[in-house]
């Protein structure tokens, strides 16, 4: 999963001044892009002349002017952020870094591209042959082309996959290569990705953004389109379907929302029209793979995987993995499901293979491949190892098997002690290391605050199998290094990307692209019906958490206002309100403790109820849980919704400061932005979400939670009778928190009293916040869910909701407000509210049991675990 790591290295500019421009008074100087003499440059040829295909772009940008380009870049970053385009650095939601995009694309002319393209096609075909051979006859080993240890010692060689073949031609479906331009000016491959190549989705996103922020430049440059690549992928995946009785069901398998490239998984799933699933959404039954959807198990034929092969099946592969589908490999072995790329294809990512590709080419094709690979030395060979030790300074040392904790090492950066230590590591496990010649990558112009400056780059391009060969994405994902960094990885905050434009000599005809669009649409329309139950569950909880946070926020806002109001609260009214805070937010013991009685302690507790993310029920913890759920269903949310969620993240990040600053005066205002954002979110869900099952679960979560919050609020504010003025104060506060005090006064023209308050909050059918209104809505949503058998009548969760609704409808308000003889307790009201709460809890449990997945983690039958090497 660790992927977009482009492990090539750059050396820093040899003289600092070379890539820096004189600061000039006019912005025109920004576009005076100069070549660094020691670097190959994409813009200039060997004689220092600007290449013709760059002229139009550079002059157009110059005529736009520096301010305009800077503005377009800001726009681009805003779109990326709104699209939720991130590259996750860790599981922390705060560590999501918005994808960086430089507004200057990398240009490649069509003549050069056609050479690269045919080289890449040949390379993909060759690697496909290697893959078939390694898991088949192993002729490359038998005939001495590959050293046996190179394959046998590689952790990506999965013996369990021996002999597994898809019926169709190629086994390698997706392939990506990282290329840099070498000193001879030719593109040269530094790495292959064959497991679950990432980056194609980011390339698509880059293209989408570029065509929006620089539309006319893009249009007039005649850029080759990317859609053919994705169209080919879609057709190929459909063609891989091994079960030929109906429409192929394809899913995209992701490790989950915390994967680094999760944005891309969601983007591709949406773009291709496939459900995005996690391992736990799938199950193996009766020899097939199934998706656990709301209306039962749906067969899955083809899995486009973004989970590393090793993690895909705990039965046969890594036994402690919870990311895969237990039993998957055997379904694949029996030919009832296809995984692309096939399990075991990680063996091709061994960088030591690059050394042997010329020999492999001769063995299979009778010729060396057209495309050069970087000079590579495998430490498993004695001569190579000696060479590596003698030439550390010119080499990049890599592990043969990528792991998240092992990185490429640039030999020249090591001091002599580090070199000795590295030599010892290599000598201990020589087969695990490979070295590559350091290639100084070419430079290309990048936009910075100082105008255009030269930056080194790596191009990742992508190939996908088509019925006869491979289709290469024209262009790809260009990653740009920052100045002075020798080894660039995506985890560097400064590193950024570029769109890659392969320039056509004439405008490209677009007719062919949508040739099969009809077929594709019917396929995706069919798939839209099958929502993984995990997605439904997350939407349900997203709704619940949003409402919890909103209810607490509203109440807290009111409490702050009342505490600081000109008319001081009586101690009883104050305590009742504070207890209500604890009750509604469920942050017990909170104000039910008796030792919180001075202003300072109250303030401290209120702040905790808002800010303490480790306290269950706090506003921040609810909002974070809501954001976590939203990450899990990213592919279901509209662009506008992403934007609102981003606003929410910002408001959340700022909340602590805003509150502390505001405590002295009007702390409630610090909460306003959050309430507004939550309202916007609810509005968007209501306005722009398709009325499918996903929407129903979200709304069910909301209505269920709103009903529950209302009962809690009524319980703690109205069940105990207070004296008239305290009672009025408490009720007013409750009405105020819902912004209903004005409507109340307009309707009743009187001082607030319990009975009319109850009327408004509990049974008023025209008030969308009333308990009855919400229960009725919940009942509607439940009726809209898929039912196994409607003939047997109302399902249990429907009965519960109906009973709750009926109890409320039949309530006699006069009796409810009356106290038990000789007490201050409105016993009937308490009873009713308790009953409704019970019924809501049962409904929630029933929904969860019926529609959500509750399979617990699996365990080993025999616990014979040993450490991996």
């Amino acid at each position: 999963m660790k992927d977009i790591l482009l492990q090539t290295a750059w050396s820093p500019p040899r003289q600092l001044s070379q890539s820096q421009h004189q600061v000039q008074s006019t912005r025109d100087a920004d576009f005076a892009y100069e070549q660094s003499p020691d670097f190959i440059d994409e813009v200039y040829d060997t004689s220092g002349e600007q290449r013709s295909h760059w002229q139009y772009l550079l002059s157009s940008m110059a005529s736009l002017g520096g301010d305009a380009v800077a503005d377009r870049q800001r726009k681009a970053l805003r779109i990326l952020r709104d699209d939720g385009a991130t590259y996750n650095l860790s599981a922390q939601p705060q560590a999501r870094r918005t994808w960086g995009l430089d507004p200057v694309p990398l240009l490649i002319d069509s003549e050069e591209w056609s050479g690269i393209e045919s080289g890449l096609i040949e390379r993909s075909e060759l690697l496909d042959l290697v893959l078939k051979d390694i898991y088949g006859p192993r002729d490359l080993i038998r005939h001495g082309v590959l050293p046996p240890e190179l394959v046998f010692s590689h952790a990506g060689f999965l013996r369990q996959c021996q002999g597994i073949k898809m019926s169709s031609g190629q086994q390698l479906i997706l392939h990506s290569v990282d290329m840099v331009r070498n000193v001879r000016g030719q593109m040269c491959v530094v790495a292959d990705r064959t497991q679950a190549p990432s980056g194609a989705g980011y390339a698509l996103e880059n293209r989408t953004v570029m065509s929006r922020v620089l539309p006319s430049l893009f249009r007039d440059s005649h850029v080759h389109r990317l859609s053919m690549f994705f169209q080919t992928l879609r057709l190929k995946l459909a063609a891989l379907c091994p079960n030929n009785d109906d429409i192929p069901h394809v899913v995209v398998l992701t490790p989950g929302a915390y994967s680094e490239t999760y944005f891309e998984h969601a983007l591709l799933a949406n773009y291709l029209g496939y459900p995005l699933v996690q391992g736990s959404d799938l199950t193996v039954r009766g020899g097939f793979v199934w998706m656990k959807s709301l209306d039962g198990l749906k067969r899955v034929d083809v899995i486009l995987r973004r989970v590393d092969d090793y993690y895909c099946d705990a039965v046969e592969l890594r036994s402690d993995s919870q990311l895969g589908v237990p039993g998957l490999l055997n379904v694949v072995r029996s030919g009832r499901a296809v995984v692309a790329n096939p399990l075991g294809s990680g063996v091709l990512e061994n960088p030591a293979l690059l050394k042997y590709l010329p020999a492999i080419g001769k063995f299979f094709l009778g010729r060396e491949p057209q495309m050069d690979s970087v000079g590579s030395y495998w430490c498993g060979e004695d001569n190579d190892r000696q060479y590596v030790f003698d030439h550390f300074d010119d080499l990049i040392i890599k592990p043969v098997f990528r792991r998240s904790d092992e990185h490429s090492i640039f030999g020249a950066q090591l001091n002599s002690e580090e070199k000795t230590a590295l030599m010892a590591r290599i000598n201990a496990k020589p087969m695990s290391f490979v070295a590559q010649d350091y290639i100084q990558p070419s430079n290309a112009p990048c936009w910075s605050k100082d105008g255009l400056i030269a930056r080194p780059l790596v191009l990742r391009s992508f190939a996908v199998a088509n019925p006869s060969a491979y289709t290469v994405m024209p262009g790809g994902l260009t990653r740009v290094g920052s100045k002075g960094n020798k080894i660039i990885t995506s985890s560097q905050p400064q590193s950024t990307s570029k769109d890659t434009w392969v320039l056509a000599s004439e405008p490209e005809k677009q007719t062919s692209l949508h040739r099969d669009a009809g077929a594709v649409i019917s396929e995706s329309a069919d798939q839209g019906m099958h929502l993984p139950s995990r997605v439904a569950e997350n939407l349900f909880w997203m709704g619940r958490y949003a409402e919890r946070a909103e209810a607490s926020l509203r109440l807290l806002r009111t409490v702050f206002m009342q505490l600081n109001s000109v008319e001081p609260l009586s101690p009883i009214a104050r305590n009742t309100l504070l207890n209500t805070v604890t009750r509604v937010s469920t942050t017990y013991p909170g104000f039910t403790r008796t030792d919180i009685n001075n202003a300072e302690a109250i303030e401290k507790e209120l702040l905790e109820v808002i800010l303490d993310e480790n306290r269950a029920g706090s506003v921040v913890s609810n909002l974070q849980a809501m954001l976590t759920s939203s990450e899990e269903v990213k592919e279901m949310l509209s662009g506008d919704t992403q934007r609102v969620l981003n606003d929410l993240r910002d408001a959340l990040a700022d909340l602590g400061n805003a509150l502390r600053l505001g405590l002295a005066s009007a702390p409630e205002e610090a909460l306003d932005p959050l309430v507004t954002t939550l309202l916007a979110l609810a509005g968007l869900n209501h306005e722009s979400m398709m009325r499918g099952m996903g929407w129903r679960f979200l709304e069910m979560g909301r209505t269920l939670e709103k009903s529950y919050q209302m009962t809690s609020l009524l319980q703690s504010s109205l069940v105990v009778e207070l004296d008239e003025s305290d009672q009025a104060m408490v009720l007013e506060s409750v009405l105020l928190s819902f912004e209903m005090l004005v409507s109340y006064r307009r309707r009743y023209r009187s001082r607030v009293e319990v009975k009319s308050g109850l009327q408004l909050l509990m049974v008023d059918q025209t008030n969308p916040r009333s308990l009855q209104f919400q229960l009725a809505a919940l009942k509607e949503h439940l009726q809209g869910l898929p039912q196994v058998d409607r003939a047997i009548g109302l399902p249990p969760e429907g009965r519960c909701t109906l009973e709750a609704l009926t109890v409320v409808q039949l309530a006699d308000l006069t009796q409810l407000v009356a106290c038990e003889e000789g007490t201050y307790l409105r016993a009937q009201l308490e009873q009713l509210l308790n009953r409704v709460q019970e019924l809501l809890e049962t409904t929630a449990t029933l929904i969860s049991d019926k529609y959500f997945d509750h399979q617990t983690a699996h365990q080993q039958l025999v616990t014979d675990r040993w450490e991996d090497d």
Partner: protein, 296 residues
């Protein structure tokens, strides 16, 4: 020699298991000197699917799943195997063929398929990793001018002599260095130990699992189920082939060793493994093996 082998594996779970996926290496494979005439696997409760296949090493592997709630799982494998007697004369003088030095040299120089593919078995495997300790322990047996096979036989004898057979001392998960330190273990540990020694010395070695016919003490009737699954090792001498040794019994497998499967170590040929869902928190495993020599 014709054998009938009945191998029963029984799991008893204290809480029901809702779903399990398993694979088993329980059916004897064919080898140059052994032919499996028939082998039948039966599983209770009745599995949803049983799928027979051949694994990477050419062993027979059975995949099955049980998708209903069950509190016990029983796998019975009933096989008929004929050993054709061409294996080796257990009393043979092994002082022939490659010396240790020649064997090491030929492992690098020979380019025939068998030798190239055998190089896989010099490498570390999940449960057998070489170490200096293993190399040192092995050293006295592998003197340069001794034939590799005599050296392997000597190693077999030394393990038999230096180590105590003690079923209480180890589990399937006990690491090799611990076995070497405590000088105790069972057949699986001794096979791993020998393999580790051979690899540390630069020779290919593989793990062989199977059965050993045991004979009752004189005058007593053989008890059904008293046999056990067994394990030993095999070493490759370049240009000469694979040769088996049994360090648990200090002998050369011949007419009483029936092969089930081989691999780099136990993990490649685990008799039964898989995952279970829910339940099964504490499970009781019982295994019964019966090797019966049939009259011909």
């Amino acid at each position: 020699m014709l054998y009938r082998i009945k191998h029963i594996t029984h799991y008893e779970y204290d809480k029901p298991v809702t779903l399990c996926y398993n694979h088993a290496h329980l059916m004897p494979r064919d080898t140059d000197y052994q032919h499996c005439l028939e082998s039948h696997i039966s599983i209770a409760p009745y599995p949803v699917s049983v799928h027979q296949s051949s694994d990477y090493f050419g062993n027979k592997i059975s995949f099955f799943s049980v998708e209903n709630k069950h509190s016990s799982l029983e796998i019975v494998v009933d096989s008929m195997v004929r050993l054709n007697g061409e294996r080796i004369d257990p009393g043979i003088d092994l002082d022939f063929g490659n010396t240790c030095t020649q064997a090491r040299e030929k492992m690098h120089s020979l380019q025939d398929e068998t030798t190239l593919l055998a190089r896989e078995f010099v490498l570390n495997s999940p449960m057998v990793k070489t170490s200096d300790a293993l190399k040192d322990y092995a050293a006295p047996s592998f003197r340069s001018n001794v034939s590799l096979l005599s050296a392997a036989r000597d190693l077999t004898r030394r393990i038999y002599t230096d180590f105590t057979y003690d079923p209480e001392s180890t589990t399937v998960a006990t690491p090799l260095y611990q076995v070497l330190e405590q000088r105790r273990g069972v057949c699986q540990d001794f096979a791993h130990l020998a393999i580790g020694c051979l690899r540390a010395q630069g020779f290919p070695a593989r793990y062989v699992s199977g059965y050993l016919e045991t004979l009752p003490p004189p005058g007593q009737k053989k008890q059904v189920g008293s046999d056990a699954s067994h394990a030993w090792f095999s070493v490759y001498s370049p240009g000469e082939g694979w040769f088996e040794f049994d360090p648990t019994n200090d002998n050369v497998p011949a007419e009483q060793h029936i092969t089930t499967a081989w691999g780099r170590d136990y993990s490649d040929v685990t008799p039964l493994s898989g995952v279970i869902f829910e339940g099964g928190d504490s499970q009781v495993l019982s295994v019964s093996v019966d090797v019966q020599r049939l009259q011909e």
